[in-house]
Amino acid sequence: MLTVKTPKTKKAKRALDKRAPKLVENLKKTLLLHGTKTSNVLNAVLTEIYHLKKGSAIKYSRKNESVRPFESGGETSLEFFSLKTDCSLFVFGSHSKKRPNNLVIGRTYDHHIYDLVEVGVENFKTMESFSYDKKLAPLVGTKPFFAFMGEGFENVEELKHLKEVLLDLFRGEVVENLNIAGLDRVYVCTAVSSNRVFFTHCALRLKRSGIVVPRMELVEVGPSMDFVVRRHRLPNDSLKKEAMKTTTGKPKKKEKNVSRDVIQGKIGKIYIPDQQVGGMALSNDAKGLKRERREAKLKNGVNEHKSKKQKADTE
């Protein structure tokens, strides 16, 4: 037997509709979590990524014993968290003797793990350790620039993968219209060697240059760190093909209240609510006034009247 379960409230329905698969997708949310053991460095890395991604990230602060993304069976609870929080990107920190300061960055498709990259964090510098003019500090949720350099990102498979994942992780919302004045951050990634990537976050300063294009100036604001690529897992081809599917057409918006006629051409309909003559606003019961003031006004009016009368009497 099957029963139909529907949300009991409109709020719940809206929440579910937000999570539904869509033609034009929402911003990917990121889940930040860690394993049984973490180091100070890793804690700092996770919080700083959280700060960078504020507004579209969820950070878990408890230990997670059963999360081991690369092992079979270790992804179950991760997938569950992804479903629960509606996150399709995750950054998992763990620290062990074999893999110190380990960061697993991964993506999910339909709440199942899509791909994984494991990196070790070295030479980490926090945001606080940089000193700069605070006016330059990037605002929350702005669209960043990306600068990738080094042939490693093209030749080495791991780095190529890492580049894509980093882009997906930090790119923010896909927008059509962009306010150029709001551009204020850059992520700079350099492939130093075949398995090492230098990653840093910079603020952007636009300087006058005399022409339309301003001169760019980068100010390092942190965090900055080295990623040493360890393990990685690419999606299998069929899954990749499935996940890369896009539609060219935008969803059509329903045209309302417009009809076409052979003789009259395009006809629009306008609805005007009935004029409520009976309940028309009068000067006395103006809603803007507070009740006390309104009453006082009425009283004063009466008083004036009285005083006038009295005056007349005395005269």
Partner: protein
């Protein structure tokens, strides 16, 4: 600029630039040196993006110039699958086959019975069951049947049928994976054969109990049955009741004797009459007495009642009146027993 764009791979949609030809002439040993070099190169790349970006046609806004970004060229995977089209319902298929087309109906209809405009559906609708005072008889009507009740039953049936159809269509949609986002199909327990409705929800404990019972319902107590994968052994293996050993001995053997001795000692003790709760006995006696009185007063009525309450076997042997008196007598006996205690 031409040379730059050729040199760098630029994705304006993602504001990303990539320089595939960059390599350190000599890897700087000093960290600061490295950072400096990277930032310098990064500035160049960002400048390259900006060259393209600031030359895009822009519209002036209060907060700054707004440009229209081209779609990103770097392909990134989707988060969830594309929304799937909903399969047509059975009715839609049928309507298409027959060429039936929907035509719009007004939301409000004139109700001739009340002479007002009313809703077609929902609360306070036209031709509502409550508003029909008279239903004219037809030749086909069966005598003795309430037409109002019949109307209600028919309506209920129609609603149920529609609900069934809806479930069928949803199941079909679920198979394709095109269920509306806010609807979930949840499995419930199967109805027990012979009962009308499905039990609401069976808890885990209950299920375990039932499974345990079923597993042990063989001559061997389920000892030789094959276990299903993941099936746990029954919670209560073996016997429920325990008896103490009757044979005399030390330890466990003497426990049974001790138990009976305890009871006997209580009965034969010097102050054994204190076991009896006199107050309780008196009230019990009084209640019985009153009942008896009542029985005598309403002999005719009560006899039939008592007859119903009594098992049939006894009434076959004795007259109903006597039966009631006998009942009283038996009660008397029981009360006497209390006394003797």
């Amino acid at each position: 600029m031409e040379t730059e764009t050729q040199k760098y791979q630029i994705d304006v949609g993602n504001l990303m630039a990539y320089d595939p030809y960059h390599s350190f002439s000599s890897l700087p040993q000093d960290r600061e040196q490295l950072v400096k070099e990277c930032l310098q190169k990064g500035t160049e790349l960002v400048q390259a993006i900006a060259d393209v970006l600031f030359n895009l046609p822009s519209t002036e806004d209060r907060d700054g110039p707004i440009v229209q970004l081209p779609p990103p060229t770097t392909r990134l995977p989707r988060e969830k699958h594309l929304p799937k089209p909903k399969p047509p319902t059975k009715w839609e298929l049928f309507a298409k086959q027959k060429g039936i087309k929907n035509h719009k109906k007004d939301k409000i209809v004139f109700d001739e019975q009340t002479g007002t405009w009313k809703r077609r559906h929902g609360y306070d609708r036209v031709d509502d069951d409550k508003d029909v005072p008279i239903i004219e008889a037809k030749m086909t009507d069966e005598p003795g049947e309430d037409p109002f009740a019949k109307r209600q039953v028919e309506k209920k049936e129609r609603v149920e049928k529609q609900e069934k159809n809806r479930l069928q269509n949803l199941k079909k949609a679920a198979k394709v994976g095109a269920l509306p986002s806010h609807i979930q199909l949840a499995a419930t327990a199967l109805p027990i054969t012979g009962t009308q409705s499905a039990p609401k929800k069976v808890s885990k404990d209950e299920l375990e109990n039932v499974a345990g019972m079923a597993a042990t319902a063989t001559a061997s107590g389920g000892k030789f049955d094959k276990k299903l994968p993941g099936e746990k052994s029954a919670k209560h293996p073996g016997k429920y009741r325990k008896f103490l050993p009757v044979a005399e001995g030390s330890g466990m053997g003497s426990q049974e004797q001790q138990q009976t001795q305890k009871v006997l000692n209580k009965l034969f003790a010097k102050h054994s009459h204190e076991i009896l709760d006199v107050d309780k006995a008196v009230t019990m006696f009084n209640v019985k007495k009153e009942k008896k009185k009542k029985d005598w007063q309403g002999k005719g009525k009560s006899s039939s009642m008592s007859d119903k309450l009594k098992p049939k076997k006894k009434s076959n042997f004795k007259a109903p009146n006597k039966g009631s008196s006998k009942k009283g007598a038996s009660k008397k006996g029981s009360s006497k027993k209390v006394k003797t205690k």
